[in-house]
């Protein structure tokens, strides 16, 4: 079915729309930063609502690790139809989520091409994760890195 693809297209349009808006105003300097924060803000609000829906039927989480596992499995599956491939932690509050075939990046390229454009497409999902965690009671800072398309890593 075309369902999966719909969101990918919407997301690509969202990103290009936000950037076009910004370009038609002044300041090229601030352009990058404000666009990314706008996209991240959108993701934040959506993450909050989504987590409410997804956790409706789950039992209460016992601790942070439990929350992270839920994020990697059910949450990711619900949104991107696959699970996070790798979860690492240093047991002191930092977690790394790695996805080797990130849905929103697969169509962009499958190597090193367009690497510098990648962050734009990851801003929304960073916001998504941050919103989800904040609604579960965890304050966090989420950053994303891409070294090889279409795999990406999220650092919390």
């Amino acid at each position: 079915m075309a369902d999966d693809v719909l969101f990918e297209f919407l997301h690509m349009e969202m990103v290009s729309h936000v950037y076009k808006e910004q370009a038609s105003r002044e300041d090229i300097d601030k352009e990058r930063v404000t666009c990314v924060s706008t996209l991240e803000g959108m993701g934040f609000r959506v993450g909050q609502g989504l987590i409410e829906r997804f956790t409706k039927d789950c039992p209460t989480f016992k601790d942070d690790l439990d929350i992270m596992k839920f994020l990697c499995k059910d949450f990711w599956t619900g949104i991107f139809r696959k699970q996070v491939d790798n979860l690492r932690t240093n047991h002191q509050g930092t977690y790394v989520l790695q996805d080797n075939k990130f849905t929103l990046l697969t169509q962009v390229s499958s190597g090193k091409q367009h690497l510098e454009e990648a962050p734009k497409y990851l801003a929304y999902s960073c916001g998504l994760i941050r919103g989800a965690l904040s609604n579960l009671g965890l304050e966090s800072v989420v950053t994303a890195e891409v070294s090889l398309m279409p795999s990406c890593e999220y650092l919390l």
């Binding site: 609000r45 909050q48 609502g49 989504l50 987590i51 409410e52 829906r53 956790t55 409706k56 789950c58 039992p59 209460t60 989480f61 016992k62 609604n135 579960l136 009671g137």
Partner: protein
């Protein structure tokens, strides 16, 4: 038949998002009751720990000398608390009914949350939520 006297909804920072009571009763007394029951809710949340991962908690108690009524609580995963006060002057309540009431509340709350015009932390002003609560209160009286 039992009568729901009032229904409150609290956000994670413990201020009320939604308050609804049957107007003929003395509202302030019920607000007070509900606020004190929040303490009990907090206590229950903090003692879950390694015990079972039970999402719903039923709090039975707060029997006052003049009237008999019971306070029930429910906590979601995003730390939003719902409290219902019921006057059980006639027959006793069945667990399932209370659970289904909380279920409906949770569902409506989720819908409110997903509304893009709603900012988390604001008082709930959704008509759908209101009508759902009214229907519940009317149905049980």
């Amino acid at each position: 038949m039992y009568v729901i006297i009032c229904m409150h909804c609290f956000c994670p920072q413990n201020y009320p998002l939604y308050i609804r009571s049957v107007p003929s009763q003395s509202e302030l007394k019920f607000h007070y009751t509900v606020h004190t029951s929040l303490d009990v809710v907090e206590e229950k949340i903090s003692t879950v720990g390694k015990a079972m991962a039970e999402q719903r908690e039923l709090y039975l108690g707060l029997l006052y000398p003049t009237e008999d009524y019971k306070v029930y609580g429910y906590v979601t995963n995003s730390k939003v608390k719902f409290v219902i006060v019921v006057d059980s002057s006639n027959t006793s309540l069945r667990d399932n009914e209370i659970r289904s009431m909380f279920r409906k509340l949770h569902n409506s709350f989720t819908d409110v949350m997903c509304n893009p015009f709603y900012n988390p932390g604001d008082p709930i002003q959704s008509k759908a939520f209101d009508s759902m609560v009214s229907a519940m209160m009317v149905q049980s009286s």
